[in-house]
Amino acid sequence: MGFGASFYGFFIAAAIWLLVYFLWAFNAAARDRSDSPR
């Protein structure tokens, strides 16, 4: 019996986690830029 969901699932879940985090961080940076006085 080889590697299963616990092994491969981690890499998929981690990739999604990082993707969502960076999307949020880019959005937050854009929001900060638009809010800051010029």
Binding site: M1, G2, F3, F10, A14, W17, L18, A25, A28, A29
Partner: protein, 477 residues
Amino acid sequence: MTADGLILLVVALVYFAIVIGVAIWGYFHTRTEDEFLAAGRSIGPWVGGAVLAATQISAGTFVGTLGRHYLTGVSWIWIWFGVWAGWVMSAILVAPKLRRFGALTVADYVGKRFASEAARTLAAALIIITYTIYLTAQFQAIGEIGAAIFGIAPLVAMTALLASTGCYTALGGVRSSSYIDFVQTLIMVLALLFAVPVVISNVGGVVALGEYVGSIEPRVTGWWFTWKELVAFGMAFGLSIAAAPYEMTRYYSMRDVTTVRYAIGISLVAQALIGSCVMILGIGMRGIFPFLPSADQASSIMASTVMSPLLGALFLIAMMSAIMSTVNSILLVTGGAFAHDLYKRLINPLASQRRLIWVNRISIVVLGLVPFWFASRKLADVQAIVVEQAKFIASFFFVPVVLGLTWRRGTKEGAICSMAAGFLGCLVWTFTFQRDFSSLGIDAVEVGVALSALTFVLVSRATTPTPAENLRIFFDD
């Protein structure tokens, strides 16, 4: 000297030359306490991300976590999501407000947010006590590694760790420490990435490894731990990360709030790489040496027998980097807590910048010496000390930081009582009900945080609100 020993010596000399060179550069670029404790707010996202990762990754990761994967297999890796949940909570609720505040220490935040010198002093004292215990674990780890790999006395290894880390921390403060952390993170990631194909090729590939270790013990490739256990472990780590003083102080040194958010993301990428490699290496070592007498030996045996001399030397330097970067961060926090929060506030409020920098330096060396006594007596194993200190930090600090930054009504009396209740709750539970309730997934950290939160809300409701001028910087977005 053997050829292997010579390679290790050359790699170590190059490494220490870089570390000391950067520290001397930092020494000549540090003139104020702000530069010593916050690097003049100059750290960018890449260096900042490496700093956060280096601080998080410790002796426990290279020795304890690798050993845990050796013994129990894949499923332990899922606790990283608990750690990362703590980081995300910090990125959303804590980091932006702390960076905007832009002070020098975490106790600075407590003092300003709750308008209380007593709360600031209590926070500084609890940080010094808890992190001195954490330092003990790091000294103990280097003592064990020194004895196992190099055959030197633990005290000699501990002295070398304090002399090298204490020296570069005290010389250049946060500025040079940050660039050294960057180099150390790079070494850790590269050493692990290079080690994975070596170990995997030794066992005939990933699929063959999975089939072999699965035939020894099926739970190694599946779920050794239940979901309930993984959530309980993950929550304990996440709660301690969300309000960890040695991470929070580094936010102050970054350029702005956006830099902090990106730095946390880059740190998550580094942690994902390091965590994945450590998992594969732990299971790989199970495939190569299925019956080691102690799981904690897996990493040192891998470096000395499975890898080439050069890669083995790089891996040992990576292990040392993990310990040094953690010790460095703790020393900066405890030294800053004493010099900035106790000496400057209570003993010598008129101290010059030059004197404050020197008090920081002396505090770093003195507070680095204290754990020697504990480490030489081996009060518990390394992983146990690391876990216990994390529980205590979360129990007394999570609520004043996370709830304090999201709920305006929190008061100084609430903060002081919640820190005391969280600390004592965790302490009492650890020595009384811990064993009976652990099977239900209830740990001392959850009890400590729950008690701290309840006390914070009840006492704050019954006392006078914090003055509006103290709250403005934290709540008026």
